[in-house]
């Protein structure tokens, strides 16, 4: 689905990603974990084409297509979705209006017929069930006055309506209470299909208790330190990142 090769990214003069290699196959769920400042959000943002980042070198291909040369909306049309850690609030445009604009913009790019109001509302009601989002909230401004949990559920709802090929969820679990976390996790699980891949960016293992990943990668200091199965996430929880980093530096040292 996505193939990242030796990706180096800077913010201003500071190099944040120092050569990331990552590959996610179709239908797979991968988790990227790492301590604060390791570059997790930078990776998510740069893949989605958010402004403020400079790609120094490397490649990222989504289903064989060069992602890094595209505008953000072209990446969305190619099937990429970024669930934001801090979704913006936009009073004056309702969640429904944004969703309809977004969905029809994507359909137009794919040469599909735009949905009319009736078809659209039916779709949103159906998908809204995944995250138990009351319709009244959808008529409010985008994320306007939403709690942290409601904002994250709204991101999952958008994902459910826009049906991406690859969803990158940037710390979607942060700031969620136990119930909200379960609802978000159920939403993600409901959207797992053989044709859809996920990249879950997270600090902790708690989301991964509800959404079983196929692979776990530890990002540290701008590089993938190590990769493994779900047990790696549990090891992080038990030992902390520092221990892993130490072990990795010994490994690297011995190789050198």
């Amino acid at each position: 689905m996505i193939e990242i090769r030796q990706l180096q990214v800077a913010v201003g003069e500071q190099l944040i990603l120092r050569g990331v290699d990552l590959e996610v196959g179709a239908g797979e769920v991968h988790a990227v974990m790492g301590p604060n400042g390791s570059g997790k959000s930078t990776l998510a943002h740069v893949l989605a084409g958010m402004p403020g980042y400079t790609v120094r070198s490397g490649q990222a291909q989504l289903r064989g297509v060069d992602l890094l040369s595209m505008e953000p909306e072209e990446r969305a049309a190619a099937g990429l979705f970024l669930g934001f850690q801090y979704p913006v609030e936009i009073p004056g445009i309702s969640n429904l209006q944004l969703l309809k604009e977004a969905l029809n913009a994507l359909r137009l790019r794919r040469s599909e017929k735009p949905l009319d109001a009736v078809e659209f509302l039916a779709l949103v009601r159906k998908r809204g069930r995944f995250v138990r989002m009351p319709e009244e909230l959808l008529r409010r401004g985008v994320n306007e006055g939403f709690s942290g949990g409601e904002k994250k559920r709204n991101e999952i709802l958008q994902m459910a309506v826009l049906e991406p090929r690859l969803a990158i969820l940037d710390e979607t679990d942060s700031g969620l209470d136990v119930d909200a976390l379960r609802i978000v996790a159920e939403g993600i699980n409901a959207l797992r299909t053989p044709g859809r891949s996920f990249l879950l960016i997270t600090h902790y293992q708690r989301l991964l208790q509800h959404v079983e990943p196929d692979r776990v990668h530890i990002l540290s200091n701008g590089r993938i330190l190590c990769s493994g199965g779900p047990e790696l996430a549990r090891a992080v929880e038990e030992q902390g990142y520092e221990q892993l980093e130490e072990e990795a530096s010994v490994d690297v040292g011995s190789v050198a």
Partner: protein, 450 residues
Amino acid sequence: MSAPALQAFDRAFQALHRRLPGAWFRERRATAFRYFQEAGFPGPELEGWRYTDPRAWLRLELEPAAVPVAAPPVLPDAPLEGREHDVLVFVGGHYCAARSRVGALPPGVRLAPLCQVLDAGRDEILAQALDDLPFVEGGADAGFSALNTALFNSGLFLRVPDGVRLERPVHVWHLEPEAAAGGPPRCAHVRNLCLLGRGAAACVYESYSSAAAPGSGAPKSLVNSVTQLRLEDAAELRHCKLLRCDAAAHLSYSCAQLGTRAHLHSCYFGRTEALARNELQVRLLGRAARAELNGLYSAAGNGRHACLAMVRHLQRETRGDAFYRGILYGAAHGIFHGAVHIEEHAAHSEATQSNANLLIGERSRAYTRPELHIHADEVQCRHGATVGRLDDASAAYLQSRGLDAVRARALLVRAFAAEAMERFRFPDLQDWLERHVPGGGLSSGALGIA
């Protein structure tokens, strides 16, 4: 008098004033014109005109249309199309009977072009009403309103007697015709009068549009309008002014006087690529009178768009709310000047004033000047003013959802306008507003903002 426009107005007055409607009103016009000759035009040396210098237009030899101008075969972009309403159409300042339509009215209601009312003979109430302007001769910047008194041809006359509530809205539609090729730039002086008796109610749309497409190279023209609204005790007026004259300068004074428990809900929606100055003065004369003033103004190109909202509280428990939003494209300037005066006897009054501006163009500017003058105890006043640009993070968020950069930014402009639009509360106008709102309408308009 050095400016060509002053000389042109002088010639026009000499040539026209015997032919203008209302022979009995002639002397009053002559007095007003003498005042205008002495006072001249206000200019940037006056604080209220600092950012809206009309001199560029006054370098033109503006000619008032001496004879009625033919209406265009199709009236463009009708604001209340498909809605039941009465409409008076004016073209180039002249009444156009062929395009106007007034249905059966309740007894005692007078709805007519002002020229007909003037020609019907001396009318003391009318004479008094026409003179009842807070900015009549004497004020430093009364030049344009004096000129209006001297030269107006027609406009709205609406009188609703005590206790009568008009069911249908009234639309007074001023249309600037497309100028004949090579014809002179024109000037139209428009006077509107709306008098509501005790407990009367009406809804009035006052719109100005141009038959010339923006940027069509039509000669510049100027509209000088004065609108007077008088609400007796417990009267209710919903007044909505629409301005769509991109190539014409529009200078307007409106004044409203409200009696006890009278309620004015006033909205202004306008855009210009030229000069638009919209001044509204409200006097809350009776106890518990209330005025809600809302405005959404935009300007593009090198346009200058000014909104001045002055509310004077003269009695107890009065309330005034002014809410204005400006959107400035290109190198346009937006100007807001809001003033609240709470006089000595107006205890327990409330006033709010809010102005926010969105700068889209790199060279666009906003000037905002809130003023509060409080001379009474126990009053509540709030005001706030902001100037900002589109939020890049919000634009990026929308793009990440599939909207291209242009649409994302347009949607954010639309979002900024929404707060003002929600305050308009003119359901008959919703479709028209949706088509004209800065940022463009939403295909899903009905889904969200009710």
